[in-house]
Amino acid sequence: MAGKIVLCRCEDVTLADLEHCVSRGYRDIEEVKRYTGFGTGPCQGKECLAAVATHLAQLTQQPPSAIPPFTSRPPLAPTPLRLLARDPGAHRFPDDPETDRSV
């Protein structure tokens, strides 16, 4: 049954995957993220973090308050490179053209 309960829809991480991860000794939520890949897809944990943390608390017999969220990483939402490249704050190297047609 645990193999059919999906916790992270972006990366297809199931409850069984989480149980396996904990059984291998990876219990810190940052380690769980890296071992299972949960929270590394397009939502970056916005949909799955609470579900994983809840089950992780149960599996490791801790109160939910003992499990902080993993470090959230910018950008806030998936952002195209072309848009980022237009930011005027970009560092200019000596060979960077003043205006860049490609961006």
Partner: protein
């Protein structure tokens, strides 16, 4: 000033792990053992590679203590590049051996690290950069590395998506590669533990107490442990640990940022890098484009925040080089610390006047790729083998006795 999204160096994370329970026989967290033959401080790839090699060669009672979780430092934050394109013969030869070990890693350590030899393509935008590559290629060829100089058309044959305007040449070595850093650490940790090494995470060192009879008492919140020898494998934090016993390690932390895109169908074989900006990018086995760029002039810091300036600079250089990537979305960015050494080379062996305090630091952002061979050589040496020449050359003493001046600097720390 660009806004920095703070990522605190010390988190108030709950203590959830304790002793890493890898094989079932090590089940259960607990206090540190009373004593150890060798205590390795730092559960990154360098510390774990050394621990594995010590234990594999029969040394019992090795303990690794890690301040945070495994892969919390630079070992979990790097781009996974593994290359033999270096500028000095000694580093080229070391990396040839490291690549061989990477090829066997999955079999030797029982974990898939997704090592993929797609080559490294260094792009030059000036004749000066071409000359720099040519000089290195001559040394690499002499060592048996098959790097060759390509004209822009040949570079385009390898990566057709490149915009060649401004590119005047490229260096290409097909046997360089990339790997997935995290499982690499887990492989070392598991196999070290299987050979009797005890690994404690969430265990910061609070103090070191030298003993009259040699060795140290290492104080941690989990208790004290008496170490006959101690290895400092704490990366950018090496000077701080060394300072606890009054040893001056002349390395300093430099923040480098990196980011990852949404996954794409595999199309990019080599790691692509341009010398002008330190831009690099590769496609991981998960399909993401992982890369970074070096913005010059950043001062030393232990901060690991992310900046918009990095993302904008990376995007601008990457879209210029590969316009086809313009519509690809960045999913996340993060940062890690280079342990910057004055001459670009590592610092190894005992600190002068402190024969039981060993260093394994100063890798300038390239410790991950050197760890397989470094761990093997360190393990051989500390279990009675003859010291490899790196231990005579990459000493801490070289910065004070003038011998550093007689050695070549490593000037090819790109990215």
């Amino acid at each position: 000033m660009q806004p920095v999204f703070d990522e605190e160096e010390d988190s108030s994370r709950a203590d959830v792990s304790g002793e890493i329970r890898l094989p079932a026989t090590l089940e259960g967290a607990g206090p540190l053992p009373e004593r150890a033959e060798i205590v390795i401080v730092g559960g990154g790839v360098i510390g774990l590679a050394i621990a594995y090699n010590l234990a594999r060669r029969g040394l019992s009672n090795v303990v690794v203590i890690e301040r945070g979780y495994l892969a919390e430092g630079a070992s979990g934050r790097n781009g996974g590049g593994v290359r033999q394109q270096w500028s000095t013969e000694i580093n080229i030869r070391l990396m040839q051996e490291s690549v061989d070990l990477c090829r066997r890693f999955a079999v030797d350590l029982g974990v898939n690290v997704w090592f993929r030899q797609g080559g490294y393509l260094f792009l030059a935008r000036s004749q000066r950069e071409v000359a720099r590559l040519e000089k290195n290629i001559a040394i690499q060829n002499r060592c048996g590395v098959a790097t060759r100089m390509l004209d822009p058309g040949q570079a385009s044959d390898i990566v057709p998506e490149l915009d060649l305007s401004g590119i005047v040449g490229a260096a290409y070595n097909p046997s360089d590669g990339i790997l997935f850093p995290w499982p690499f650490l887990w492989g070392y940790a598991r196999q070290a533990a299987a050979h009797g090494v005890r690994i404690f995470t969430q265990t910061p060192v609070g103090g070191l107490e030298p003993q009259k009879t040699g060795g140290y008492i290492v104080h941690t919140p989990r208790g004290a442990i008496r170490a006959r020898r101690l290895i400092n494998a704490t990366g950018a934090w090496s000077p701080k640990l060394a300072a606890m016993i009054g040893v001056d390690v002349p390395t300093y932390p430099i923040r480098h940022e990196i980011c990852s895109s949404e996954p794409l169908k595999p199309f990019l074989r080599p790691m692509v890098s341009e010398l002008t900006s330190g831009l690099y990018c590769s496609q991981s086995m998960r399909g993401e484009i992982v890369g970074g760029v070096t913005i010059p002039g950043h001062e030393s810091t232990y901060g690991m925040g992310s900046t918009m300036q990095f993302l904008a600079t990376y995007a601008r250089r990457l879209v210029r080089l590969m316009p086809i990537l313009g519509d690809i979305k960045v999913l996340r960015q993060w940062a890690g610390l280079y342990d910057q050494s004055p001459d670009g080379n590592p610092i190894l062996g005992p600190a002068p006047g402190h024969p039981d305090f060993f260093l394994a630091c100063g890798f300038v952002g390239h410790g991950f790729m050197m760890a397989p061979i470094l761990g093997k050589l360190y393990g051989e040496w500390l279990t009675g083998g003859a010291p490899h020449e790196i231990f005579g050359r990459y000493t801490l003493a070289r910065f004070s006795d003038g011998s550093a001046a007689h050695h070549e600097k490593e000037d090819f720390n790109i990215g």
